[in-house]
């Protein structure tokens, strides 16, 4: 596909279709409405199906049904809508079903605001639903990367038989950038587990292949069996932690201040780094591209340089990723936090002022704007 100017939400839909997604179940919520709107127009054109569900609760369960029969399926929503899906996400993880969920984050708690936020980090990576599980979670920093990560998410979901999330602040969904959407031929992973119809007379599935009857299920009434499932999930997570960590390092070598930021905030921090450089302060950035698995080793190694005096975490939240950074840094350097809440976007100037003042202080925790 040629390079074109496209809004983030529309790009998500086009990228999904270009890598073989043919089924979308969703419910309206700002600021992600262009995703279902684009899907409702485009999916019928490519032989796919779009259904507007009666709620996010229903959409995620439609995704469960579609994923259970091996379909390449996704949904999208925003914050409070994703919160409503957590029951279904937990069921999908338990049933080991592949699907992609895009969260264009808005402000919270509660109905919050319709403006951008990064307030769903904890809900996304600390397990929003019940039980023991993890979700591979991508945090794109621009529209092109969002497209690429949505396509990667479909592949990893199928490969690991798991739910994969792409979480972006609403800015990314709403802004237009020049992008190129790649056409990706889906890798065919084994889907003999899928519930497509099974003939008890021949022991063969609907496609003629021999297989046991398929039961898509997350109920294991015997503790021994549930323990086996959970062991299997965490064996899978160990592989994902080893294979799937993604991050960007920007000017970290010899930095005095090490920033850790993701999504739109990481772009603001890149401006901050230029300003600080002009004032004679060397600063760098580690930008997590996977929130789980978190790039702990990269953060630790960058922080462990002799040059680094301070690690500064900046988020459009009250310090959610901050906890993962603290765990990664293992107290070898002071970790300060500057965040804006309530869907306020930090300016480069306020972060510069904070960083310069912070160099003379111990660990600080500041929610800006007051």
């Amino acid at each position: 596909m040629a390079r074109m100017l496209m809004k983030g939400n529309e790009a998500v839909a086009e990228a999904a279709i270009a890598c073989g997604c043919r089924y979308f179940f969703g419910y309206p919520i700002t600021p992600q409405n262009e995703i279902p709107e684009t899907m409702s127009k485009r999916l019928p054109e490519v032989g796919g199906v779009y259904v507007q569900a009666e709620s996010e609760v229903a959409s995620i369960n439609m995704v469960y049904g579609a994923a259970g029969c091996g379909a390449r399926v996704m949904t999208s929503s925003s914050s409070v809508g994703i919160a409503l899906m957590q029951e279904g996400i937990s069921y999908m993880v338990g049933a080991e079903l592949p699907a992609v969920i895009v969260n264009m984050m808005r402000g919270g708690p509660g109905l919050g605001s319709i403006q951008p936020s990064q307030g769903d980090y904890n809900m996304s990576v600390k397990g929003g639903g019940s039980g023991d599980y993890k979700l591979l979670t991508y945090t794109p920093g621009n529209v092109q990367e969002t497209c690429d990560l949505v396509q990667r998410a479909f592949d990893r979901a199928a490969k690991y038989r798991t739910v994969v999330q792409v979480i972006a602040d609403g800015i990314i969904g709403q802004m237009m950038e020049p992008i190129e959407i790649k056409t990706v031929e889906p890798v065919q992973y084994d889907d003999s587990w899928a519930s497509k119809g099974w003939d008890y007379k021949t022991g063969r599935g609907f496609d003629g292949q021999e297989r046991p009857k398929s039961i898509i299920n997350s109920l294991y009434i015997e503790p021994e069996e549930l323990e086996v499932l959970t062991h299997r999930l965490f064996d899978k997570y160990a592989i994902i932690e080893k294979e799937e960590v993604m991050y960007e390092e920007y000017k970290t070598e010899g930095a005095e201040i090490l920033f850790v930021a993701y999504g739109s905030v990481s772009r603001i921090v890149k401006n901050v780094i230029e300003v600080l450089e002009s004032k004679g302060i060397k600063a760098g950035l580690v930008r997590p591209i996977t929130a789980w698995p978190f790039p702990s080793e990269a953060v630790y190694n960058a922080a462990n340089q002799d040059s680094v005096k301070k690690v500064i975490v900046t988020e459009m939240s009250a310090g959610q990723m901050l906890e993962d950074v603290r765990l990664a840094v293992r107290a070898i350097k002071p970790v300060s936090f500057y965040g804006r809440v309530g869907s306020q976007i930090p300016t480069p100037e306020e972060i510069v002022d904070f960083a310069i003042a912070d160099l003379k202080k111990d660990e600080e925790f500041v929610l800006g704007g007051r």
Binding site: F25, N61, V73, S195, F206
Partner: protein
């Protein structure tokens, strides 16, 4: 001597976990026989609920999804929309369908999803031990209505078939019972017709089956059947509520 009668092979040999006198077993068998007789078992995907029939996937020799509480119609929608040539049904109780899953069942009917729902109504939450359901009759005792359902406090039993029939998207809705041989034959006829309509690609089909719960009603199986006949059938009138196929 040859075998003159045996259970349908669409049911497995797994022992049912249902209580003595419970009519789920009869309803399972009717559904399985119908799938066998229509020759569609090998392209059928079932969806079971949370409630007494949560383990239905063990009892049918077909592919199955176990859904979250009340969400079976949404799960069935996902399955059917991806595989429109497959036969898809949900099997749900009254707590699952009429309470927590009320939105999902009504919207599946509204969208005219080409699926079949078997709704087993025994006026109570069975699996969790006899709590009040939306279908619990006025005055009927439940563990969460120990003095009996008080309509001033808890309102009135929900007539689900009548509600579903009100949707233009519903193609065929009938309430049946399995309290007698005659009614069991009628129930099978209705369930077969519902699946036949689905095979023909018609709209949403819904069969409500009045069922017993001797354990939680604290009655013997025989007393339970009598109680169903004397109390449930007057409150939930049997019969076709809607049939767009014309034989109403």
């Amino acid at each position: 001597m040859g075998v003159v009668f045996q259970k349908t092979p669409v049911l497995t040999d797994v022992t049912l976990h249902y209580c003595p006198g419970c009519t789920h077993g009869i309803i399972h068998r009717i559904v399985a026989e119908v799938l066998e007789e229509l020759g569609v078992a090998e392209r059928t995907v079932g969806v079971c609920p949370v409630g007494c029939s949560v383990f239905a996937y063990k009892y049918f020799n077909i592919d199955f999804h176990e859904a979250a509480h009340g969400r079976a119609p949404a799960v069935a929608t996902g399955i059917k929309r991806c595989q429109p040539d497959r036969i898809v049904f949900s099997y749900q109780g009254d707590g699952d369908l009429a309470s927590i899953g009320n939105a999902e069942i009504n919207h599946a009917a509204m969208r005219a999803e080409k699926i079949t729902t078997i709704f087993v109504n025994n006026c109570i939450y069975g699996m969790t031990g006899g709590q009040m359901a939306p279908t619990t009759l006025v005055g009927m005792k439940a563990t969460t209505a120990p003095l009996g359902r008080d309509s001033d406090h808890y309102g009135f039993p929900m007539k689900v078939s009548e509600m579903i029939a009100s949707h233009d998207g519903a193609y065929y809705v009938e309430r049946v019972s399995v309290d007698s041989t005659k009614n069991i034959i009628g129930a099978k006829k209705a369930i077969k017709k519902a699946f036949q309509y689905q095979v023909e690609g018609k709209g949403f089909t819904f069969i409500e089956v009045l069922s017993t719960c001797p354990s939680n009603w604290a009655k013997t199986p025989v007393e339970s059947i009598k109680w169903l006949q004397e109390n449930m059938i007057p409150a939930f009138p049997l019969g076709v509520k809607k049939d767009k196929g014309g034989e109403a």
